[in-house]
């Protein structure tokens, strides 16, 4: 788990508005140069399994964003009262409670998707993004910036998820959100769906390509080791 790269000074934030430039950066950085998946290497487990189709990927992204944002908010509000030695257990309980809420909501409103995602919704608890942001950011910052940081990281995670799912669903099954996008004429002309894209291995290759593109555009991000 990567430790904090943020060094946001806490004192200055009193005078700032709700959406000052620093706070806006908390939202936008994780979508680009501090992306949780491609740069911080957090939360891979679920990223790969739910992306064969776009719909579960979007739902997963929303779930993770909600859990990250609110667990950041809650832990940040409690940060001065949590004893340091048991902080992991406190964090896990807060996360698990939020995940249970998300799980029950999904079961109530989109039952078929929740059945498909069942194990992976549970895995949000051990999704390193949530724990990672709690440790790296929420334990040292005020509730509002922590909340924004949570939303930003959730969105950054979601962006990668949606890119992977778009590629995998359109190339692997010829559909997007269940609607066919490859015209029937192409199939009759001999076009075949790419079977590799349906396997989990395809998401590894797509992430590798995203990393490749991102790091070629911004050589600062290349790790030398």
């Amino acid at each position: 788990m990567s430790q904090a790269t943020e060094t946001t000074p806490v004192k200055e934030q009193k005078k700032e508005g709700l959406f000052s430039s620093k706070n806006r950066h908390l939202l936008t950085d994780p979508i680009g140069d501090n992306n949780p998946i491609t740069i911080q290497v957090l939360g891979l487990c679920s990223a790969l399994a739910v992306t064969t189709q776009l719909k579960p990927a979007i739902i997963m992204a929303i779930g993770v964003t909600i859990v990250t944002a609110f667990s950041n908010l809650i832990i940040s509000a409690l940060r001065n009262t949590i004893p340091n030695r048991i902080r992991m257990i406190v964090q896990l309980v807060v996360i698990a409670a939020l995940v249970v809420i998300v799980d029950q909501l999904l079961r109530a409103f989109v039952y078929d998707v929740s059945k498909k995602l069942s194990v992976f919704i549970g895995l949000i608890i051990t999704n390193c993004i949530v724990m990672g942001r709690l440790e790296a950011f929420a334990m040292a910052n005020k509730p509002w910036p922590s909340f924004l940081d949570g939303i930003g990281n959730g969105l950054g995670y979601g962006a990668i998820l949606v890119i992977i799912a778009l590629l995998r669903e359109s190339l692997g099954s010829g559909t997007i959100l269940g609607y066919q996008i490859i015209p029937q004429a192409l199939y009759t002309a001999g076009y075949v769906n790419n079977g590799l894209m349906v396997t989990p291995a395809a998401s590894m290759f797509i992430i590798a390509i995203i990393i490749w593109i991102q790091r070629s555009r911004n050589p600062k991000l290349v790790d030398i080791s």
């Binding site: 487990c45 698990a96 249970v100 895995l123």
Partner: protein
């Protein structure tokens, strides 16, 4: 007996946590830089999965599922607490990892030094919680859950040790700079996943 062996082979190879389901990736990516540390973490995961899966089975079947509380009072027989299983499982895992750490420290300092920082890290390894959740989903019985926990752990250990061995050799190869480190590891994992897919044809 044959059933148990089948579950073991299945959980270790056919349904390998890392290479078939891509679970437990975070620590897989982070700790697979050298074979020595990979062996340490792999051993720790086998150990913890082998213990937590059966214990979570006991919690699930003696406390949480519908009718499990009937032995206290007949009126409790309709209580269904399965919605609490996430919280119970993760609490059991966190508590057990802490306990295991203390026991290992007292009884075998050499093993404790070998595992070092990896023991606490395991709490947030998705593979451990996934082991418990898959155990529930597949409705294993108690002996099966023990075998499943051990098999899944051994499968995870094999994968991370193989990955670390490949990455050690990779130092001598000429990879495009932007792909070095993380990028090439992803591609390798994908290729290993495809290799493991060839095992899926085996019916047990």
């Amino acid at each position: 007996m044959q059933d148990l062996l089948n579950i073991f082979i299945k959980s270790a190879f056919l349904e390998n946590m890392v290479l078939a389901y891509f679970i437990g990736m975070c620590s897989f990516m982070a700790v697979s830089k050298s074979v020595k540390t990979a062996v340490g973490l792999g051993a720790a995961v086998v150990f913890v999965l082998g213990i937590t899966v059966p214990i979570n089975w006991l919690f699930q079947n003696l406390l949480l599922i519908e009718g499990a509380l009937g032995w206290i009072h007949p009126s409790l027989a309709t209580v269904d607490l399965t919605f609490l299983s996430f919280i119970v499982f993760i609490a059991v895992i966190a508590a057990l990892v802490q306990l295991v750490e203390m026991v290992v420290e007292k009884t075998s300092p050499t093993l404790y030094n070998a595992l070092g920082i990896f023991l606490p890290l395991i709490t947030v390894n998705c593979a451990i919680l996934a082991g418990a959740l898959f155990m529930v989903q597949r409705e294993y019985n108690f002996p099966e859950s023990i075998v499943y926990g051990l098999g899944a752990g051994i499968g995870w250990a094999i994968a991370i040790i193989a990955m670390a061995a490949i990455r050690e050799k990779l130092r001598y190869s000429n990879i495009p700079p932007a792909l070095r480190g993380l990028g090439i590891t992803f591609i390798l994992t994908g290729l290993m996943g495809i290799a493991f897919m060839s095992l899926m044809g085996i019916k047990l």
